[in-house]
Symmetry: C2
Subunit: 526 residues, 2 copies
């Protein structure tokens, strides 16, 4: 197959990085405006030179690791990944161990101390990937395939470049976990190689943990952290290396995630489906009841009407507010992309909205619609409700507030299907099933351990760096807070359109190279 790569630009890595930051294909494909100039920096310069000289080799390294199937459902496969990653870092000065718990994939642990370091940073990455259905993929998910651009943008398959040949940062490498979350497993060794090659010293002791079941919600991670708590006793900062860059395609640092919980509410009509003719406007329909109950929870602007729903949310700090004010405005573009004429609370900014708890209707179901609809008064109607929580919100307390609201609407709350006695006694019955869930995490942007990370990233990204107080989504970072008192910062490198969790997952090579620079900067931060 004919190679169609354009020449490697050879510009300074900062420009490469900015140009290469994954274009969110759903947005306009223009580049962000030029960033403020950042000061020369030995670590970033070393990373730049290393990428320029070794782009094809870094790409080959990434392809090599992506050939290993990594669905956590297959213990043999997953162990091969653990051993592979342990070897990667063992050759780069880390003391590596495979920690083990019964029934769990290994937690790969490593440590490399730096001379004279007064700080220990712990870097989290996961080596498992989402399950794949090869039928949905353009190429087999574990046969890494290089493309000249993103497939929906007309990208065509191309041959891998030979060592020393030029590499285009717009190329895409397609494979499961190309971004999520093996990208750090290639970019981090490259950053170490770049620094070690030029003798640029690390400024922190570095702990690594590689999780083998993140895509299954890390069921053993808390136990691992607890079992080996002495290993994490001196952690001053957690660096969580996962996720995509900002929707604006600018690099970002993220200081928190929302918590999550939920509940399912079923309300009842007759104890069997009744003929809607014989009993229609006599027997109460559960759908009307559910609609009325749900409508009482949220007004038409999107404000949640449940008493005290917003009360426990911790107020924003001055730094949070400054960061929100400085965040790139992507809302108008997102509204166009998602086909929304307006968003909640009169187009209130997305970045501000995710700083509040959310009440979401995951689904509603009562009998059938469409061709399957029948003239029946159904026995019940169910709503699945998800909550997103912010710092200060306790999952159980928030569910209590929702239940109190349901009671205030006149409902008797039960935990099992109603029996005849309950039915005879209460006109309004709601079965509530509560999820577990976990709280939000939000690190103070002005915490002493956090400032140097921000400074380090600015050495790479300049003023393009977006400081995001919290992701809208949820990750169980609370367990790292439990394991230590250290703040948590999320440093994503993947392009936004990486098809994370879906078929045709990919990484834009420029984003992989950005990772090399970003890690080099953080490993040498002041």
């Amino acid at each position: 197959m004919k190679r169609r790569a354009t020449a490697f630009p050879g510009a300074v890595i900062r420009a490469v990085i900015r140009a290469a930051l994954g274009s969110f294909a759903l947005l306009a494909a223009t580049l962000p405006p030029a960033a403020g100039q950042s000061t020369p920096d030995p670590a970033v310069d070393a990373a730049q030179r290393h990428v320029e000289a070794n782009a094809a080799a870094i790409l080959a390294d990434h392809a090599a690791i992506l050939k290993l199937p990594n669905d956590a459902a297959n213990p043999d496969d997953i162990r091969k990944n653990a051993e592979y990653v342990a070897a990667l870092f063992a050759t780069r000065g880390f003391a590596m161990e495979l920690l083990e718990l019964d029934g769990a994939p290994p937690l790969v642990f490593g440590r490399r101390d730096a001379e004279g370091a007064t700080r220990t940073i712990a870097i989290y990455v996961h080596y498992d990937g989402q399950p794949t259905n090869p039928d949905d993929w353009t190429n087999p998910p574990f046969r890494p395939t290089l493309y000249s651009a993103a497939i929906p943008d007309g990208g065509k398959p191309i041959d891998f470049p030979a060592e020393g040949e030029p590499v285009d940062p717009d190329w895409r490498l397609y494979a499961r976990s190309a971004s999520d979350d093996k990208a750090p497993m290639t970019a981090l060794p490259a950053a170490l190689d770049a620094l070690d090659a030029e003798g640029v010293a690390l400024t922190s002791n570095v702990i690594l943990i590689f999780d083998g079941e993140e895509e299954r919600s890390s069921p053993h991670l808390e136990a691992y952290l607890e079992t080996h708590k002495e290993k994490f006793a001196d952690v001053d900062l957690w660096l969580f290396c996962d996720g995509p860059t900002h929707q604006s395609r600018q690099p970002q640092l993220v200081f928190g995630v929302r918590g999550v919980t939920g509940l399912e509410v079923t309300v009842y009509g007759p104890n069997r489906g009744l003929h809607s003719g014989h009993y229609g406007n006599w027997a109460p329909g559960p759908g009307w009841r559910l609609a009325t109950l749900l409508a009482s929870m949220k007004d038409e602007t999107g404000r949640v009407l449940i008493k005290n729903f917003y009360k426990s949310a911790e107020p924003l700090t001055k730094a949070d507010r400054a960061a929100l004010a400085a965040a790139p405005d992507v809302d108008g573009e997102l509204r166009r992309t998602f086909g929304l004429a307006a968003t909640e609370l009169d187009n209130a900014p997305l970045a501000e909205r995710v700083m509040l708890p959310a009440l979401n209707l995951r689904g509603i179901r009562s009998a059938e619609v469409g061709d399957a609809a029948r003239n029946v008064i159904p026995p019940s109607a169910t709503a699945s409700i998800g909550l997103r929580l912010v710092k200060g919100d306790d999952p159980a307390n928030m569910l209590d507030l929702v239940e109190a609201h349901i009671r205030r609407q006149g409902y008797h709350i039960i935990r099992e299907e109603p029996d005849a006695e309950v039915r005879a006694r209460y006109a309004l019955i709601a079965k509530v099933t509560r999820d577990g869930g976990y709280p939000a995490v939000r690190s103070a942007m002005d915490a002493p351990a956090v400032g140097p990370v921000i400074d380090a990233l600015k050495r790479v990204a300049g003023d393009d760096l977006v400081l995001t107080p919290s992701l809208g989504g949820s990750l169980p970072l609370f367990m790292f807070e439990t394991a230590s008192d250290a703040p948590i910062v999320i440093l994503p490198i993947a392009n936004f359109d990486n098809n994370q969790h879906a078929a045709d997952e990919n990484i834009r090579l420029g984003n992989l190279f950005y990772g090399v620079g970003a890690y080099a900067a953080v490993l040498t931060m002041k």
Copy 2:
């Protein structure tokens, strides 16, 4: 198998009939109070004697017709039924024809004129049955099986009695269409035999029509009536022989049915499912919108809030009101049976409620609930809404009222999925798909042609006869009104717990025998 039948009571047929009126197994199994005495009557007495002498033979006749599979999906099967029923009445003085239309099962037509008759009554029965899934049945649906009682009441299979052997009216005969609607196809010939055997003359010319696709909503019936309208030109009264007796287990005459229509409403959120973390409380959720819209349509007591929804309903006549006041009160028992602590409008009587149009939520659907629920903001939410109409309500006008209400809530109504332009322009979009439907029918109880039917049935049932101004359910009787100006009366004979449309359909033999008396009385009415 040992026969366990109790002796045939041998009491007067009125007592048999009352005792035998299908016990609605869901209600208390007590009998209704003794009716007022009715006057001796040659026709009813003839029917009584005929049933006493020929109970086993009538049962055998019924079993014979029930052996014929009658799913309208199988044209060969359905034609055998048509030919069978034509033969049944050809031997009883009727001129029979199989009317034909392309692609339709035959409409079996018959006529027998009575000497000196000044009135023509047309009797409607259908010979097709609901589709069956034999796996759901205790016995094969077309192998009629006799039971000592209803199966849920502990009934056991018993042998058919030999001719002349006693028959217990509490026995049940299980087979598809045992009640719906082959019961008249056995009871009516028996009534004719009873009258002819004792020389009791019919007082009306009698037209018969047997519909072969009622369970498929009679798609060709209107065309049959139009094509052969000269055959129906002299009809003075339609007698619609289908359905079950009153929930009180008392015999009833019914003077109308509700009309029916419906619509499906889909409201929209983002044009794709969005991550509820990243976009939760920014992107509007369609479930909240649908809940708010639905909640605006009906208040918590059950009153429909759509403007003018009750306006076109024709007021009740004095006779209607008297009949409603005299109707047996089954509401409390129905509430207990259906597990409802209360019904709409503070327990307003069912009989009165069905005299008003109804708005029913047939189903609601948005994304998933239960284990399948995902943390997504779904793209849409759909409600399937059914309307039941009363006399005076036009289906299209009623749907217009619902649409006007949706518009008043701020929605832009569309007929197809919204495109990007519509999405950009309107924050609130509702796709509305309208059903067809048909209007209600309600015959005046004091119409001249109707009075003799009421009198005739009182000769059989005495004061137990319930006069029901309208069923809650719907039948397309409007087409009979269109074909003639004659009133329509529904005369049901089947037990209420006949499992109509379901597995294990059955008829209580006493109800079959009641049919013999009821038809004998109507065929000889003054």
